[in-house]
């Protein structure tokens, strides 16, 4: 049962081969048995899950149907869930029971999904290894001595280990796509504004975007259909109708123009990953795609630009964690400054503090133009690169990550080395375009991900390409040993 995809679960539930409650209990037992090895859950919401499963079964008995009715999922622990701890992987929110539901949570619940729990993550989504969580690192099911990627590492590990078929993630600089690549999943970062940010605790507001993670493109399409869409509560939400993501999956790829940016295949890329990526290009060619070499000349400037913009926004977004209205408060503050300084110093972990300080510095008097404005100008150059490239090609293809999953602790000493791992993913966030990572093979038993990028609002195209690829390959069906 635990090997089924969302689409398969939907068919089985429709055919009454098992009930949502049976499925839920099976997965809850599996989480209890296997998650101690992985640490992918921060909270298992057993009571809620059983109640939602029973409700889904009742709705089905009453004649309702729906692709997600009774579908078990998990939420990254920065989506607010009413009455349930929403920790963001941080001590400062360890005691925070959100007083409301995020729009994404509300929409998925309305579609009939069953929430098995809240998934581990890098603290406030800051990290690429899921090692900055207050709740401890998450381990990669493909090799328990390695990281699953981050920041949506809990979502990735739990799906890869078949503890649940799909989950929500968020992607600010690659936090859906990179862990998807490192754990053999399909993960989609939609266009900025496509999925509501209401109730999704902000890291960097102009870059953050929620999206689906699952094993197949089809499951991502199912989840995205329910998650996405206009929300009046989010000023940056886009009021534009959704495409029929499921219908688009079956489009043939004949004539698809794929661009291969030379900057994605230069120094720094593991040559074995390059080979795997090129093999996937060959498969797509067999499906009728044509390939063109392109250039994204400003890609190399993306990392410094991102590491100004994201920390700058974060430094402001995280000011609300002050020990006054919610969350952690230090013991016996002697005065107001002490309350702030100790609550925040004790409540935030090192990486969060680092980024708050970098952002504070970048915005401070005398440095704003040299850092923040400069970064925003480079951001425009990066966007212009994509606009120009998409005049020539339909999608851009390259590796999702320059390296395979690394060893736990390997990059802890030097944050900069971890930042460099985001090189291929952060441009999509800076430009706001959609990006998807899909399984494309293994090297020494570790998964390789291929990233596809498309013009604004062409999520359907990305899912279509990935789905067609998954019809002729089976990388995405492989399970890690022991799970």
């Amino acid at each position: 049962m635990h090997n089924l995809t969302l689409a398969e679960i939907a068919r089985n539930l429709a055919e009454k081969r098992f009930s949502a409650e049976e499925l839920t209990r099976t997965l809850l037992a599996r989480i209890e048995q296997l998650d101690p090895q992985l640490n992918s859950f921060i909270s298992v919401t057993e009571e809620l899950a059983i109640a939602q499963a029973k409700a889904a079964d009742a709705r089905r008995a009453a004649g309702e149907s729906g692709a997600l009715l009774g579908a078990p999922i998990g939420h990254k622990d920065l989506f607010c869930t009413q009455g349930i701890r929403t920790s963001c992987g941080s001590k400062i929110l360890d005691n925070f029971k959100a007083p409301y539901d995020a729009t994404v949570v509300e929409r998925l619940a309305a579609a009939g999904t069953v929430t098995l729990g809240k998934l581990n993550m890098d603290e406030f989504a800051m990290g690429s290894a899921n090692e900055s969580s207050y709740y401890g690192p998450v381990k990669n099911p493909w090799d328990l001595s390695r990281v699953p990627g981050g920041s949506s590492g809990g979502s990735a590990a739990a799906i890869a280990a078949r503890l649940l078929p799909a989950a929500t993630g968020t992607d600010t600089g690659g936090s859906i796509r990179q862990p998807a690549a490192l754990t053999n999943l399909t993960g989609l970062k939609p266009t900025y504004g496509r999925v509501s940010r209401w109730g999704m605790v902000a890291y960097a507001s102009s870059l953050d975007q929620g999206g689906p993670m699952a094993r197949t493109a089809e499951d991502c399409a199912l989840l995205l259909s329910a998650m996405a869409g206009f929300d009046a509560k989010d000023s940056t939400s886009v009021d534009q109708p959704l495409d029929d993501y499921l219908a688009a999956l079956s489009q043939p790829l004949a004539g698809l123009r794929i661009g291969l940016p030379k900057e994605y295949f230069g120094a720094g890329l593991d040559p074995k990953i390059a080979d795997a990526v090129m093999a996937s290009v060959e498969e797509l060619k067999k499906l009728g795609a044509t390939v063109k070499d392109i250039s994204l000349p400003n890609m190399q400037h993306a990392i410094p630009s991102y590491y100004v913009i994201a920390p700058a926004e974060a430094s402001s977004n995280l000011s609300r964690f002050d020990g006054v209205r919610f969350g952690y408060r230090c013991e016996n503050p002697v005065d107001l400054t002490d309350l702030y300084k100790r609550s925040r110093a004790e409540g935030f972990g090192d990486e969060v503090k680092r980024r708050i300080m970098v952002g504070t510095y970048a915005l401070s008097a005398g440095y704003y133009d040299a850092y923040y404005l400069k970064a925003q100008k480079i951001r425009r150059l990066i966007k212009q690169d994509f606009v120009a490239a998409f005049e020539q090609v339909d999608v851009i293809l390259g590796p999702t990550t320059p390296n395979l999953a690394w060893k736990l602790g390997e990059k802890n000493a030097d944050p900069v080395s971890a930042y460099l791992e985001d090189i291929y993913t952060i441009t999509a966030n800076l430009a706001g375009i959609p990006g998807l990572s899909m399984p494309a093979g293994f090297i020494d038993g570790l998964p390789v991900g291929v990233q596809l990028l498309a013009p604004y609002f062409q999520e359907a195209r990305l899912l279509n390409v990935a789905h067609q690829y998954q019809q002729v390959t089976d990388w995405h069906m492989r399970a890690p040993a022991g799970f």
């Binding site: 007083p99 100004v308 110093a345 300080m357 510095y361 850092y371 400069k374 480079i378 706001g432």
Partner: protein, 95 residues
């Protein structure tokens, strides 16, 4: 632009992050490494380029002026560290 300890102390104060004497050298070094990475931006020619604050460059939607919220004080204050008589308590604010 390498940061001095005093600047790091100033930044930590602006961000209201307590920083112990013992942590200062390491924090200063790490921040300088990150700033070293960031400073690579300065080599890019951005003459005549407008800053981009939002990826989609759309405009603000406006909300009708209507009261849609009701009093939820009890629920919201149930998760507060310290409240009394409906007020959030903090160490005395000196004016």
């Amino acid at each position: 632009m390498a940061l001095e300890r005093t600047e790091v102390e100033k930044i930590a104060h602006l961000a209201r992050l307590g920083l112990s004497e013992a942590d200062l050298p390491r924090t200063t070094e790490t921040l300088n490494n990150i700033l070293g990475l960031i400073d690579r931006m300065q080599a890019v020619d951005t003459t005549g380029i407008e800053p981009l604050a939002h990826p989609l460059e759309t405009t603000q939607r406006l909300r009708a002026d209507a009261v849609t919220e009701t009093n939820q004080r009890d629920a919201y204050q149930a998760i507060a560290p310290a409240v009394e008589d409906g007020l959030y308590l903090v160490p005395r604010v000196i004016e």
